[in-house]
């Protein structure tokens, strides 16, 4: 009774103070889901208010009904509806009803986004930068100099490009040792290591992962895809142990490397077995399915399912899984998915391939920050090979797989709510 009375009072107050709104719906009626995130970001950069209505019509955005916003939506091709004050109040009330698995998240400010990439990087090489470019979300590039130089604290959100943090140059040696791009990449990384005072690239990367871990611990948000996920934790676990063979760092690996791994240092993974064969395109048994068996995957039947979370009690995983569908087409990568039994119990699994031990998307906390790992290379290119043409996102405006990436970019903008579970 009391709750009902409170709700009625709230409703009354809202009605009295309400204004017309602009609703960017994110269900199947939306014409360009990806650019819609860009509109939300754009609004935040202009100091406009934006609300994220979790689980309402696919995770819609509610903004003030300003001409400039409507115009920008039209120019970017984002569908929207102009709704009256009464309708807006009704929507808010519906979303906040106790019996609805929905909630309102106020987005406060546009996060400062950084992408960890080497010089000479092309934005079309990476799904995240493709998404950022398409959604017109600004980002800065940084690399080892900047990371070790303490620049990370200037950013709210860090994306790890498809980096190999183990110092094994992506384990492309077997196929591409003689390729000019491989040799140049190796020289570039070696020069960088030398410049920063490291004898080996692997030693440099171990320091880098540690610095990034501290950044997360101090409140940063980290998002990694494909090989940046498992190699990150492998590098953390290996500590000072040499796990690289001679073609990568000039000397043989420690024969007892596996026994010396320290899983207490990792963020997401534990009890994994290293892949010590330098010619195998794999870092450990975290990757599921293994890269050797990718040819057996059938794109027609490869899907993964998003889990549903309580919007009111678990807003963070709810934000990260906002989508207009909950079964999403799979896609391969050097690291496609994560073997379930290598995932720490403290990590939240956000999506998995049903009926298998393959986890596709996970999230966890470390210190005051969070990390999210997403397996696979490009949500709209089932099997992307070196040298393949880039994905044209204007042909995939409604990509559910890409939405998961963009959820991660907006999530740091959310006003912090206490997690109730």
């Amino acid at each position: 009774m009391r709750r009902t009375l409170l709700a009625m009072i709230l409703f009354g107050v809202l009605q009295a103070t309400a204004q017309p709104k602009l609703l960017i719906f994110m269900d199947l009626k939306q014409t360009d889901h990806l650019k819609a995130y860009g509109i939300a970001y754009w609004a935040l950069t202009r100091g406009l208010e934006a609300d994220w209505l979790l689980n309402y019509r696919g995770g819609s955005f509610m903004l003030d009904n300003l001409d400039v916003v409507a115009s920008e939506c039209r120019i970017r091709g984002v569908a929207f509806a102009q709704i009256s004050a009464t309708e807006a109040v009704q929507i808010y009330a519906d979303v906040q009803r106790e019996d609805n698995n929905m909630d309102v998240i106020r987005l406060e400010k546009a996060p400062r986004v950084a992408v960890y990439v080497p010089p000479g990087f092309h934005p079309w090489d990476d799904a995240v930068t493709l998404a950022l470019e398409y959604a017109e979300i600004k980002y800065e590039k940084l690399w080892d100099d900047e990371v070790l130089g303490g620049k990370l604290h200037e950013y709210d959100w860090l994306h790890l490009h498809h980096e190999d943090f183990t110092g094994q140059y992506g384990k492309f040696y077997a196929s591409f040792a003689g390729a000019s791009w491989y040799m140049e990449q190796q020289v570039l990384l070696e020069n960088e290591a030398k410049k920063l005072g490291y004898r080996k690239v692997s030693e440099l990367k171990k320091t880098v992962v540690q610095v990034i871990k501290e950044y997360v611990g101090n409140g940063g948000f980290m998002f990694a895809m494909c090989s940046a996920t498992d190699t990150y934790d492998v590098a953390l676990a290996s500590g000072d142990v040499d796990i690289c063979d001679a073609m990568y760092d000039g000397d043989p690996p420690d024969p007892n490397a596996q026994k010396k791994l320290d899983f207490s240092r990792t963020l997401a993974f534990t009890d994994f077995t290293l892949e010590m064969n330098p010619l195998r395109y794999e870092y450990s048994d975290i990757d599921q399915p293994p890269s050797d068996l990718l040819a057996l995957q059938n794109p027609e039947t490869d899907y993964f399912t998003l889990f549903e979370f309580s919007a009111k009690f678990d807003p963070v995983p709810t934000m990260l899984t906002q989508d207009h569908v909950n079964v999403i087409k799979g896609f391969l990568g050097q690291t496609t998915g994560f073997k379930k039994n290598t995932i720490k119990k403290t990590v939240t699994i956000l999506a998995e391939k049903q009926g298998t031990d393959q986890v596709r998307y996970l999230h966890g906390n470390y210190g005051r920050g969070t990390f999210t790992f997403y397996g696979g290379h490009d949500p709209e290119d089932y099997q992307h090979a070196v040298g393949d043409p880039p994905t044209d996102l204007s042909l995939h405006k409604n990509s559910p797989g890409y939405r998961l990436i963009l959820n991660n970019i907006l999530f740091p903008a959310a006003k912090k709510k206490q997690q109730k579970t």
Binding site: A70, R74, I75, R76, G77, E184, V187, G250, D251, P252
Partner: protein
């Protein structure tokens, strides 16, 4: 004296001796077997990854047979695998005491020092290796290779350079050094080495180009390579260097710079304009008309050999025509719209005059025929000088009657001219000559049939037109398939519903072809007034607007579209197209950026499902200066 009859071998001493001889090798034999087995065992441990045990066995073997290089190599290998660098260093130093001039061993020792983090000692060891006599290039090669294995690329390059001084041969290791420097991304250095090699092998320009092409795809690498070539060129005037430089400029589409280089190439090779002509043709193909024009002019001035001159002149005239087309687009950007110019107009004046000079200089040749064709095209399409164009096209046949394919193109043009003159009978004759020609190309036949369908349409014979168009549209890959489908849809839409309006429309269209725009507009306006509910009314409005735009009457055109947008907003299906045209008039006609943006935005707001929205968005972003 009695002879001793006892056998020699029966004496105790002899027996012992014999026994010793027989049994003596046995311990040695058993020792050999033991070592062989031990070695195999050690190999087995090594393959199984048990390097400690393998090392132990190899050490035993080496102790027993210190000169055995197989045991030595194996032990050294195991110590490296176990990262027991100090032990390896000790082992190798001991070995070197007995074989100090062993270059390979010294090189390897340096490598071990490096891996152990003792870089100074590594360098000292390698220097010792290089100090061994006699001094040969091979010493340096071995040391450089070992440095490359240890990823000391700069040091390896330095060793190659030292080799040149030590061996008194400044051209040693050019290819090796160029490869090393390219991998290290020192593209300037890599190019310099390839040029050094080219100087020694002057006939290998193609090889050098091939090597450079491995990295000149990158702009910064191409720039570095160009700098190296330019520096080398400062020292001497070398045609090969100029060719390389010219090629590098062309790779980067830097035509003005390439032109300067090709002038030099022409001079150095005494090509008498031949190189310039080849460059001009290349620039023309890439539509760098201004540079191509200058290059042709330069080639002509040289002067070129008589046999090549007409090619250069024709090329020059064609670039003038190309330049005219570019200027035309800039001054009249509303695409496809034409307003008649005259020969006095600057855009094509030079081209026509030059084509005429070719005709004068090379009468009754392929060049004069093509020149007449070009003049006729300009006269008709740009000047709307029908008599002049007709005369020019008729001359084409006289000049080069043997060129059949040109004949059919000419016939098609003449047909269009006759339509513009209002003579459909003569136009039909022209088109039929192409249709009935067995050697006309399929595209020429399609165009001729399409034009005949248009004539049927003008004459009000819609059924005949439809039959012709259906035949063309059967092949969707044909050039004229789209046009045929468009006209076909138009006819089918209107033949049954408003045949009288359609006939009127056809007459208006015929008048428009004759540039009798005022009469055409009047007829179209009658259609709008007389048949306001017909689908044809939309087309009439749009045609009125386009005719007004053609005439540069932008405000009138805006008024026409505005009328369509307001008075016919319930019935018209062309509203989005009309709104788009309004925006284009503001953008390209009146050059009012703000009004253009507002007009495009109105299209987005009012017609969100229009096929034109993507283009409208792009135009807005360009006008706003957004990065695309």
């Amino acid at each position: 004296m009695t002879l001793c009859k006892t056998a020699f071998w029966r004496t105790p001493t002899t027996a012992t001796l014999i026994l010793a001889l027989l049994l003596g090798p046995l311990p040695a034999l058993s020792q050999t077997l033991d070592m062989g087995t031990k070695f195999r065992l050690a190999q087995g441990f090594e393959q199984a990854g048990d390097y400690e045990r393998a090392a132990g066995l190899y050490r035993d073997l080496l102790t027993r047979d210190p000169q055995n290089t197989v045991y030595f190599d194996a032990l050294q290998r195991m110590l490296m695998q176990l990262k027991r660098y100090d032990d390896a260093i000790l082992l190798m130093n001991n070995r070197l005491e007995s074989t100090p001039p062993d270059l390979n061993l010294r090189a390897l020792l340096g490598s071990v020092y490096h891996r152990a983090g003792r870089d100074r000692e590594a360098r000292e060891e390698w220097d010792r290796a290089l100090a061994l006599k006699p001094v040969t290039p091979n010493q340096y090669r071995i040391i450089a290779n070992i440095m490359v294995e240890n990823r000391l690329l700069d040091a390896a390059a330095e060793v190659y350079r030292r080799a040149r001084v030590a061996c008194k041969d400044p051209n040693l290791f050019t290819i090796e050094l160029s490869q090393l420097l390219a991998v290290s991304m020192d593209y300037h250095g890599a190019t310099a080495e390839l040029l050094r090699w080219l100087a020694q092998n002057p006939g290998q320009l193609a090889f050098v180009q091939g090597r450079l092409a491995a990295f000149t795809g990158k702009p910064e690498a191409r720039k570095a390579a160009m700098e190296a070539v330019q520096e080398a060129g400062h020292e001497k005037d070398d045609a090969r260097l100029s060719e390389l430089l010219g090629w590098l400029h062309l790779e980067g589409k830097e035509f003005p710079e390439a032109f300067e280089v090709y002038k030099n190439i022409d001079r150095l090779t005494r090509a008498q304009g031949g190189s310039l002509l080849a460059f001009a043709d290349r620039a023309f193909k890439e539509q760098a008309f201004d540079v191509a024009a200058k290059a042709y002019e330069e080639a002509i001035k040289t002067p070129l050999a008589a046999a090549k001159m007409p090619y250069a002149k024709y090329g020059y005239a064609s670039t003038l025509k190309g330049l005219g087309a570019v200027a035309d687009t800039l001054t009249r950007p509303l695409g496809g719209k034409r307003r008649p110019m005259t020969e006095a107009s600057p855009e094509y004046r030079g081209a026509v005059a030059y084509f005429r000079s070719i005709i004068q200089d090379y009468p009754h040749t392929e060049f004069s025929a093509k020149s007449y064709y070009q003049i006729g095209t300009i006269q008709f399409e740009k000047f709307f000088d029908l008599d002049g164009a007709l005369a020019s096209f008729e001359k084409v046949g006289e000049e080069a009657g043997g060129i059949h394919l040109v004949r059919y193109d000419v016939a098609l043009k003449i047909g269009q001219i006759e339509v513009a003159r209002g003579d459909t009978a003569r136009a039909a004759l022209s088109y039929r000559s192409v249709v009935s020609a067995p050697d006309a190309l399929p595209d020429q036949g399609d165009e001729a049939n399409y034009r005949l369908a248009e004539l049927d349409f003008f004459a009000g014979h819609s059924d005949d037109a439809v039959r012709r168009l259906e035949a063309i549209a059967l092949n969707l890959k044909a050039d004229y398939a789209n046009d045929a489908l468009r006209l076909l849809a138009f006819l089918e839409e209107n033949t049954k519903t408003v045949p009288e309006a359609l006939q009127q429309f056809a007459r208006a269209e015929f008048l428009a072809r004759q540039r009798r725009n005022t009469e055409a507009v009047a007829l179209l306006q009658q259609i709008v007034q007389g048949y306001p509910g017909a689908l044809l009314a939309d087309d009439a409005f749009m045609r009125i607007g386009s005719l007004q735009e053609d005439a540069g009457l932008h405000q009138d055109a805006l008024g026409t579209y505005a009328r369509l947008l307001t008075e016919f907003k319930e019935s018209s299906v062309a509203l989005d197209r009309a709104q788009f045209n309004v925006a284009e008039i503001y953008e390209f006609g009146l050059r009012d950026k703000a009004a253009a943006i507002a007009a495009y935005e109105k299209l987005l707001a009012d017609y969100p499902r229009s096929v034109l929205t993507a283009l409208a968005r792009k135009r807005i972003r360009l006008l706003r200066g957004d990065p695309l």
